[in-house]
Symmetry: C2
Subunit: 209 residues, 2 copies
Amino acid sequence: MEENEISLAVIKRLPRYFRYLEELIDSGVERISSGELSRRMNVTASQIRQDLNNFGGFGQQGYGYNVKYLHSEIAKILGIDKIHSIIIVGAGNLGKALANYANFEKRGFVVKAMFDTNEALIGKECRGAVIRPMSEMEAFIKDNNIEILALTIPKGSATEVVQTAIKAGIKGIWNFAHIDLEVPDNVVVENVHLSESLMTLSYNITRLH
Amino acid sequence: MEENEISLAVIKRLPRYFRYLEELIDSGVERISSGELSRRMNVTASQIRQDLNNFGGFGQQGYGYNVKYLHSEIAKILGIDKIHSIIIVGAGNLGKALANYANFEKRGFVVKAMFDTNEALIGKECRGAVIRPMSEMEAFIKDNNIEILALTIPKGSATEVVQTAIKAGIKGIWNFAHIDLEVPDNVVVENVHLSESLMTLSYNITRLH
DNA sequence: TAGATTGTTAATCGATTAACAATC
DNA sequence: TAGATTGTTAATCGATTAACAATC
C-alpha cells in the first residue's frame, strides 16, 4: 500500500534471507545475531540490519533475532503468507517443468490451469492443472481471480497474450519470453531470461580462463 | 585474462544490448546512435556509452554505432563467438526443458549429455543428448572437455555432484538448485533461483495492490 | 565547414559499510 | 550491573547521469 521507497537491491535479497532462516529453523536454531548470520551468508552484518530495518525492528538488543519470528515476518513482507493463483501460458517443456515444480505449492503458489495453442495438448493434465485452449484464458482469469501469469511461449505471440491477460485483470507476469513486455503501472513483470543468464556465465568463464 | 574490474551491473546489461542489436539487424537497421538506442531500451544514452567504453570504443563521432559490428563485438566480449559444451545433471522436467531449448544451440551452447540417478531414464535421449548414469559424469567431463554443468537436481545431492565436477575440471556451473554452492576461485557459478524470482514478483504484487 | 555524436571527465545520486549510542 | 547486539546516523564507496571537448 505505501509508496515503493525500498530499493530493488534490498527486495532481491529478502528471499535469500528467507531461505537461510528456513534452514536455521530446520536445524533447530532459535535465535541468531546479525553477526552470525553474516558469517553464514557471506554478507556484512551491517547490510542485514539495514535491510531488515527498512521494514521494522525485528530484533532485540543484546539478543539478536528470533529465527521463527523473523522468518514469518519476511514471509509477510514477501506476501507469501497468502495463497497466489497462477496460470501457465505455454504447455511446452518449460511450462510443464514449472507446473510440476512441487516447491511452489509449498510456498502458496497454486497452478490453476495451463493454456496452449496446440490442439493435441488440450484436456491433458499436468499435476492437477488442465491444459486449456488459449481462447478460454481471458474468461478463466476473470472467473478464477488469477493473480499471476507465467509466460513460457515464444516472443512472437507474447505481446498479444499479455494484452488480453491485462484486460482480464492479471496482476503480475512471470516472463520467460525473450522480450521486454510493456505493461501499465498496476501490473508487475518479473523477468527470467535464461539465455541472458547463460551469457553472463559465458562471460565470466571467458574472463577467468 | 585481465583482472576483473568491470562491475557485475555492466555485465548483466550486455546480453540485453545484444538482444536489441539482434532485433535491429533483423529489421535491417545499419547504424544506431546511443540516443536512439536509449529511447528504445529505456535506459540513458550516457549509460550505454559508459558501458560500451568499458570494453573499447566501438562507435564513431557524428555517426553512432554500426549495428552488425557492435553486435559481433559484444558476442566476443560475452564469449558466445565460441562453442561451449554443456552437460545437464538432472533429467527431470527442468533438465529436459533446458535440453530441448533450441535457442541455446543457436548461441553456441551444445548439450553433450545428461546425467541422472534414475535407472529408468538411462539410455533415453533428449534432443540428441543421451541420459547417462551419474557414475559416468566425472570421466565424461574430462574426456569431452565439458565447460559448463547445468545443475537441476534437488539441493540435497548438489554439493557432492559439484565437488566431483570440479575435480574433473568443470569451469562454470549454471545452478538451478536452491543452495549457495561453494566453489574455488577458478570456477564460476551463475544462479537461477526460480522460487526467489517468484517471491520478488509476489512482493511487488503485494506492495502495489 | 557545420552538425552530429562519441568518448571521457566531472557531478550527482544511491547503496554499502562503519561506527556508536540506545537498550535489552 | 556488564556484556551483547540492535537500530540508526554518518562516512565511504561505487554506479549513474550530466556535461562537454574531441572528432568524424
